[in-house]
């Protein structure tokens, strides 16, 4: 019987500082053992635990796409574990277990337009989703891909090289917005994500919306999506809750009878409406 608690060793091949505040780092990991690499398969939206023996472990959404060579996570320095992770150097070997949870509804998205709305550093699993959809074989399966991604300031936008490339790509309609332009002007829009979404008004007729961001952004995004005609069963959110196991046992990530780790992290807005507001 496999032991889900045992992390497998992964090497930190590359670390990228993603933002001006320098509290967001992307860790690109490769498996030390070939067998572990072969056993690891995931769908965008899922998450994994990074483990530092002696410090602990914590869950993070997977930011890489399945076809990419390395598994990557972008981690904000926020607590004891993430502070220790930010101290790690390239070449270090750490632990990882997963993947856990469910994923974005790619079956439903097939043949439809996809609208991605995201703010702040929760963009990670949506980066995974976008890279996955832009993949050579998959792009034709979906209709228009509209992405609105916002941050407080230009310096806080992650994955800048990719963003610049996507801006030029015919396969994706990208709108980057910041609360304050700060003097920069590369195709950036000044404004809050929900307002920009409202102005852009993507067609909801045959579209699925994926939303990920801080609670305040989500609260103001929902009314806009509703106004644009997105039904609750075509709006999906990825939630985060404190968790220790990732496999529905430690008891702390529940919202009503659902566990974010096992029944989520991706929920339809329709599902959330039927659950107690306990998140």
């Amino acid at each position: 019987m496999t032991n889900p608690w045992l992390p497998v060793p992964v090497r930190v091949d590359r670390i990228t500082i993603e933002n001006e505040a320098r509290d967001l780092k992307t860790f690109e990991l490769s498996f030390v053992n070939d067998a572990d690499r072969k056993a690891f398969s995931f769908i965008p939206g899922q998450f994994g635990f990074i483990s530092l023996s002696g410090v602990g472990e914590a869950p993070f959404g997977i930011a890489s796409a399945p076809h990419e060579e390395r598994v990557r996570y972008t981690v904000k320095k926020a607590g004891v574990f993430t502070a220790a992770l930010h101290e790690i150097d390239e070449g270090a070997v750490v632990g990882m277990r997963g993947p856990y949870g469910n994923w974005y509804p790619f079956d439903l998205m097939k043949g439809r337009d996809v609208v991605i709305v995201s703010g702040g550093f929760s963009f990670t699993t949506l980066r995974s989703t976008i890279v996955h959809m832009l993949g050579p074989e998959l792009r034709k399966d979906f209709g228009r891909l509209t992405v609105i991604y916002g941050a407080r300031s230009p310096g806080e936008l992650m994955y800048k090289d990719e963003l610049r490339a996507w801006e030029k790509s015919p396969d994706i309609e990208l709108t980057l917005c910041v609360d304050c332009l700060d003097g920069e002007c590369w195709p950036l829009t000044e404004g809050l994500v929900p307002n920009v979404l409202k102005q852009l008004a993507p067609d909801s007729g045959n579209a699925v919306a994926l939303v990920c961001g801080p609670p305040i952004m989500i609260r103001f995004t929902h009314p806009v999506l509703k106004e644009l005609g997105f039904p609750p069963d075509r709006v999906f959110l990825s939630l985060e809750n404190r968790m220790k196991c990732g496999i529905g046992k430690c008891g702390r990530c529940n919202i009503g009878e659902k566990y974010v780790c096992k029944d989520g992290p991706v929920f339809s807005y329709e599902q959330l409406l039927s659950l107690p507001a306990d998140y």
Partner: protein, 353 residues
């Protein structure tokens, strides 16, 4: 399966025979606390069978309060080695409520159900069973001890159990005075009792009478299916504020609960050894759900008390079709604020109906 008889004078010999093949665990009196606790038995005379119930439920033998999940070498960020595992054992003297709780634990720890996608795609997210719990469970045979005299706080008859219930057990012993009636429940239990004499009809009817008498002393009854339905719509009801007023969120109800399974995972490191540890945790503590960002979905005592009640009597039954409570009454006897779960449930029933 055939009921058998175990004369009390033969109990030491019966235990000694068991101990030849496996470890034997049973309640032992803790003098300082006037309580009994499950301990490894070396001498049959140490066993205490005149207890109402053990202070801590038998869950601690399957899900220890502190458990080393694996060890690692300090300084190495990734190395990990699974820790040593348990031996075959018999646990004797388990009360029916505690055994029933293990059935509920099985649903949590041995669940290998698939991860649910928002669209029910079919892909497994890997094995979800907990290997530590499962191994302990697989290697344990449970011999229960029926309750002829339930306590003041007991209410197992309201939670799908009973003082002579065999739920979760392999073999049930019923005290008939100078002898036990041994009722096998599983093949494992039948094998243990094989060498004993067959019980006579009058022994069996005496046991049935005792079961009826014990049951008759327990008068708390509540329609839990109905309550679950009302609770499902009661998240925002003001009754929770009233109910949680006396609660000090000390968490003792969760620690002594045979069905509470929540835990924390932490690392401990010493000079030359390190370990990842699992410890019992409580949903009554504010840190239980607090995010690294500082946001806390359950920031106050009311929301935590509400979650515990809803988890046991609404959320868990919704997914597993059983309440996450076996009516052992420990939370009632141990609560420093005098909260009686039976009264809580009655208040909820009366307020929400």
């Amino acid at each position: 399966m055939t009921a058998r008889l175990l004369p009390k004078k033969d109990l030491p010999g019966f235990i000694a025979a068991l101990a030849k093949k496996q470890e034997v665990w049973a309640p032992v009196r803790i003098q300082s606390q006037e309580a009994a606790r499950f301990s490894r038995i070396d001498r049959p005379e140490d066993i205490c069978l005149d207890y109402l119930n053990t202070k801590l439920p038998v869950k601690e033998l399957f899900f220890p309060q502190r458990e080393v999940m694996f060890t690692f070498n300090p300084g190495e960020r990734s190395s990990a080695q699974a820790s040593a595992q348990v031996r075959e054992r018999v646990v004797l003297g388990v009360r029916p409520c505690d055994a029933a709780a293990l059935e509920l634990f099985d649903k949590v720890f041995v669940d290998e159900s698939k991860t649910a996608s928002p669209l029910a795609e079919s892909k497994t997210a890997g094995p979800l069973a907990d290997p530590y719990y499962k191994e302990r469970r697989d290697k344990t045979t449970l011999i229960g001890l029926a309750c002829n005299a339930p306590g003041q706080a007991c209410f197992c008859t309201a939670t799908d159990g009973g003082p002579h219930s065999t739920r979760g057990l392999d073999l049930l012993l019923i005290d008939l005075g100078d002898r036990f009636l041994a009722r096998p429940v599983t093949a494992k239990g039948e094998a243990l009792a094989k060498g004993l004499a067959r019980a006579k009809d009058k022994d069996i009817s005496l046991a049935d009478e005792l079961a009826e008498e014990a049951r008759a002393t327990m008068d708390f009854a509540i329609e839990l299916k109905q309550l679950q339905k009302s609770l499902d719509k009661a998240f925002d009801h003001e009754v929770w504020h009233r109910l949680s007023l006396p609660c000090v969120n000390c968490g003792v109800c969760t620690y002594v609960c045979p069905a509470c399974h929540c835990f924390d995972v932490t690392d401990e490191e010493y000079k030359d050894s390190g370990a990842r540890i699992r410890t019992w945790d409580s949903c009554q503590f504010s840190l239980f759900t607090r995010h690294a960002s500082g946001h806390n979905p359950r920031p106050d005592g009311m929301s935590r008390m509400r979650n515990r009640t809803l988890h046991k009597f609404c959320y868990f039954p919704k997914t597993q079709d059983k309440v996450l409570c076996v009516g052992c009454g420990r939370c009632i006897t141990e609560c420093p604020a005098g909260i009686d779960l039976r009264e809580t449930l009655e208040t909820l029933r009366d307020t929400l109906s």
